[in-house]
């Protein structure tokens, strides 16, 4: 049996090594390959605490294996009665004091990093984005810039972007593992955190607080582009003309349908305070449909006709007039034309 246990340990060890070698998960999603300030700080602490704790585990395991090897009942000594030891002051002091020292080694950098990550003093001079969590989509309002987007958050690399987060319904949690740890998005107060991406890229974001049936479908993207590209994007977004007439017959019909079916009641195109549903200003440039599906016309049509089949419990289902397949195709043609900027996820190397 002891042999079994030993083998099991070796297997576990080999398993974890294989896991590490086979990769740390999907790049731009995993927290194990940090691409931003917060994620880097967290990973430093993850590594420090793992190393210290593995040291403790090692000592426990050495004692444990020794005990099992040396003190198992042996043939011929079945009736041996061991000495009844009450305790040992010195030993007990040692295994009280050493853990305290080890914990201090972890606690000091933890506290420093905690205060560092909570320091939002710099927000006044930096880019601020108001983030609203909704069942089951994200709204981003670029503070003072008259730009609103949904699902895709564009940020410049190499600088701290401050996010002022609030929920419009239940509690959500904003998490982009590759760039930063998470923070809850509460309905009653605004939480501020900052994110900083070191390099260009499309980083995957997820909602990390149970918020209803489609909690697992509330993905979003953070698209980090160079500061110059970001400036270009900002000016493109600011100069959008929401009334511009679409090109091509079907797209124009789609634009008319968009008005007729009163899509405008919830979805704004161009800068607008309306945020009942996602803002569609740069819908044509979106990385994914509804945050989870490939950005294809078919998927857009499916969403328009039956959003419930993609996101159960969403707030769009049942709140708009019936749309035929033909009409949905036309609307999709129109929406796909909403590409106000050259700067897209492709600029970030997607």
């Amino acid at each position: 049996m002891k042999g079994w246990m030993g083998k099991l340990r070796v297997l576990t060890l080999l398993g974890s090594i294989a896991l590490v070698l086979s990769g740390c998960g999907r790049e731009n999603l995993t927290a194990l390959i940090p691409k931003g300030y917060g994620a880097e700080k967290s990973l430093d602490l993850i590594i420090l605490s793992t190393v210290v704790m593995l040291f403790v585990l090692l000592i426990v395991m050495i004692l444990y294996v020794t005990v099992l090897v040396r003190f198992r009942k042996k043939k011929g000594k079945e009736d041996f009665i061991p000495k009844q030891v009450e305790g040992n002051k010195t030993l007990e002091t040692i295994w009280t004091v050493i853990p305290i020292i080890l914990l201090i080694i972890i606690a000091v950098p933890t506290t420093i990093a905690t205060f560092d990550l909570a320091d939002t003093e710099g927000s006044k001079k930096a880019l601020n984005v108001d983030v609203t969590g909704n069942q089951y989509w994200w709204h981003f309002n670029y503070n003072g810039q008259e730009i609103q987007t949904s699902q895709d958050l564009y940020i410049p690399t190499g600088e701290k972007v401050y996010l002022n987060m609030k929920s419009s319904d239940v509690i959500h949690s904003f998490w982009v593992p590759a760039i930063s740890g998470k923070m809850d998005v509460n309905p009653e107060n605004e939480n501020t955190m900052y994110i900083e991406a070191y390099e260009e890229g499309v980083y995957w974001g997820k909602c990390a607080e149970l918020c209803g049936p489609s909690h697992s479908l509330m993905d979003f993207k953070v698209i980090a582009v160079s500061p110059e590209e970001f400036e270009q994007w900002v000016s493109d977004m600011q100069s959008v003309d929401p009334k511009a007439v679409a090109e091509g017959e079907t797209a124009q019909q789609g634009q008319e349908l968009f008005q007729e079916k009163n899509c405008m009641g919830c979805h704004a195109i161009g800068s607008s305070p309306i945020q009942v549903g996602p803002n569609l200003t740069n819908f044509g440039d979106r990385t994914q449909v509804a945050g989870i599906k490939e950005h294809t016309k078919d998927n857009i049509v499916q969403w328009i006709m039956d959003p419930e089949s993609i996101k159960p419990g969403n707030k769009m289902t049942g709140n708009y007039p019936t749309v035929s397949k033909e009409e949905a195709n036309k609307i999709a043609d129109y929406l796909l034309q909403l590409q106000p900027s050259e700067i897209t996820s492709e600029s970030a190397g997607n």
């Binding site: 998960g25 999907r26 999603l29 009665i81 305790g87 998490w175 479908l217």
Partner: protein, 616 residues
């Protein structure tokens, strides 16, 4: 299970006996049955969750049903499986360990069980009445207050009723330990299981009222139009998180401490050694319990409480690692130099040490605030708390069941099947949960109905699901073991060469436990008598009449009344006619209280002659 012992009597009479019993040993059987039943239900829910997550974008369960499944898995396992199984152990063993004839309040003991049982049944009725609660076992507002249907209403009423039972049980064991110890059984001579159960009972006394208050607020919000958690009317949802975790964190220690006691007893028995550092073990347990009330906000590091609060709660949490470490090292020192027998009970206990150490290790890691921003609400946390709750509580319950089965049912569980259960469950457990640490860090949040094929999480989830099947297999083997063992021959009074008082009486003990109350002369009283060559306890009193309580049907009826009233509470929001059911149920329960108060129930006496007739 216990049917074997009472085969000669009709089923009806056995059933009536159990429904009305106030005997702590039979109530232990009831708790074991109830807790075991819910453990199986919770296990099936877990398997359905793992099947859903076996492959990416799976549609085995619908999104809404999945949320019901995770909510019910957590709620069932914590409140309806782990808690009652622990109460089963306390009932079965604690009075015996202190040399008592019963608990302090036998009637309340029965009431506690029936409240738990009816609360659990009420909660599970939701499956058949429009859907189970779906806001997570933590029921965070406003998701819980706005959840459509009656699912969360069942959560509120079911837990309120079951929680009252738990509170009653906790108070009962507190008073039992304070008042019912045999002569010579001083506090510092109590076995560690008794100590740990005593401390866990104190935690129940202080932690459960917080849950009760929280559930009342939630109930008023959902059923009677208040707005404690409604932000648009000036409420605050963070308050719920605080209230829930002020209960929720001590609850974790309620779940683990009694099993720490079990491991202490098992190690010391099978190493044939006195527990190393007994005093340190007792005070470490107290310290863990005390600190357990100071750390609730570590469940809320990402809520936005600010760096000061986060750092304080982080350091307080890390501090718990110190007394826990003391316990681990004391257990190892107990084994050191011993003459160790490895059987099923010991296997579970030995497996606990590395497993729980890993759980403690990740515990310190999640206490590290700035790192927790990554761990929080991901599969890393899922892995962490399954390592402590399964690796600690469930391993402990299995160890305790194999150890005390002869005392509870008078049969020794079969070793071969016991080992098969252990190895499949142990391997399955590590397969299921070890990989989840990595899944979390690779970006998989908890409570996710699906993950996507591009997320790089496929392999880890598949391994996890395979492991779950091993665990399920282990549990099935255990059930087979229980059934087969029922036909085995009777166990001796002391099959393990035990050290504590429960082994000084028959297996299973007579309903009065000890013919004569034993005189305790030190820690491990039976061991002392054995090592001095006497081999049995010296009585502390001459043989005389024993006063025993009468059975009562009232606890069952009282709980039934609340069960019925629960439906009234839930459905009066749809139709005011249900108020009649509410009032009727409450009046019925009140009626049973009046009957209990008016009726003189003085119990009965077992005469000296009758005792003399019975063999030792």
């Amino acid at each position: 299970m216990s049917v074997a012992a009472t085969q000669k009597r009709g089923f009806g009479s056995v059933l009536w006996d159990y429904v009305t019993t106030v005997d702590h040993k039979k109530i232990a059987h009831l708790y074991l049955f109830g807790g075991g039943l819910f453990f199986l239900i919770g296990g099936i829910e877990a398997m359905l969750i793992r099947i859903q997550l076996a492959k990416p974008d799976n549609d085995f369960l619908s999104a809404g049903l999945y949320n019901e499944m995770i909510t019910m898995h957590g709620t069932t396992m914590i409140f309806l499986a782990a808690m009652p199984l622990i109460f089963a152990l306390m009932n079965a063993v604690l009075p015996l360990q202190i040399g008592a004839r019963d608990v302090a309040f036998p009637y309340l003991n029965s009431l506690g069980f029936w409240l738990f049982m009816f609360g659990g049944i009420l909660l599970n009725c939701s499956w058949f009445l429009g859907g189970a609660p779906d806001a997570g076992w933590t029921a965070y507002a406003p998701l819980s207050t706005t959840s459509p249907g009656h699912g969360v209403d069942f959560y509120v009423m079911g837990l309120q009723i079951a929680g009252a039972g738990t509170l009653i049980g906790g108070i009962n064991f507190l008073v039992t330990v304070v008042n019912m110890r045999a002569p010579g059984m001083t506090y510092m001579r109590m076995p560690l299981f008794t100590w740990a159960s005593f401390i866990a009972s104190i935690l129940i006394l202080f932690a459960f009222p917080a849950l009760t208050v929280g559930l009342f607020l939630l109930m008023f919000d959902r059923m009677f139009g208040t707005a404690f958690f409604d932000v648009s009317l000036g409420g605050n949802t963070i308050i719920w998180e605080h209230i829930f975790w002020i209960f929720g964190h001590p609850e974790v220690y309620i779940l683990i401490l009694p099993l720490f006691g079990v491991f202490s007893d098992v190690f010391s028995t099978f190493a044939k050694k006195r527990l190393f550092g007994y005093t340190a073990m007792v005070f470490a347990t107290m310290l863990i319990a005390f600190l357990g009330f100071m750390v609730w906000a570590h469940h809320m590091f990402t809520v936005g409480l600010g760096p000061v609060a986060n750092s304080i709660f982080s350091i307080a949490t890390m501090a718990i690692a110190v007394p826990t470490g003391i316990k681990i090292f004391n257990w190892l020192a107990t084994l050191w130099g011993g003459n160790i027998t490895i059987n099923s009970a010991m296997l579970w206990s030995l497996a606990f040490i590395p497993t729980f150490t890993i759980g403690g290790m990740t515990g310190v890691m999640v206490a590290t605030v700035a790192a927790d921003y990554q761990y929080h609400d991901t599969y890393f946390v899922i892995a962490h708390f399954h390592y402590v709750i399964v690796g600690g509580t469930i391993f402990g319950i299995f160890a305790a069941l194999h150890y005390w089965w002869p005392k509870i049912f008078g049969r020794v569980l079969r070793e071969g099947l016991g080992k098969l259960t252990f190895w499949t469950f142990f391997i399955g457990f590590h397969l299921t949960f070890f990989i989840q640490h990595f899944l979390g860090l690779m970006g998989m949040p908890r409570r996710y109905w699906v993950f996507h094929s591009g997320d790089g999480l496929d392999l880890g989830n598949l391994i996890s699901t395979i492991g779950a099947f091993f665990m399920a297999f282990g549990v099935i083997v255990f059930i087979i073991n229980v059934i087969l063992t029922a036909r085995d021959e009777k166990a001796p009074a002391d099959p393990w060469d035990g050290r504590t008082l429960e082994w000084a009486t028959a297996s299973p003990p007579a309903h009065y436990n000890f013919k004569q109350t034993p005189l305790v002369r030190g820690l491990d009283p039976l061991w002392i008598e054995k090592s001095e060559g006497k081999g049995k306890m010296t009585p502390a009193e001459p043989l005389g009449e024993i006063h025993m309580p009468n059975n009562s049907f009232l606890p069952f009826l009282f709980s039934l009344g609340l069960f019925v009233a629960g439906f009234g509470f839930i459905y009066q929001t749809d139709n005011k006619a249900w108020l009649a059911v509410l009032i009727g149920g409450m009046a019925f329960s009140l009626g049973t209280m009046v009957v209990r108060s008016m009726k003189d129930d003085l119990g009965y006496h077992i005469s000296k002659e009758e005792l003399e007739r019975e063999a030792d």
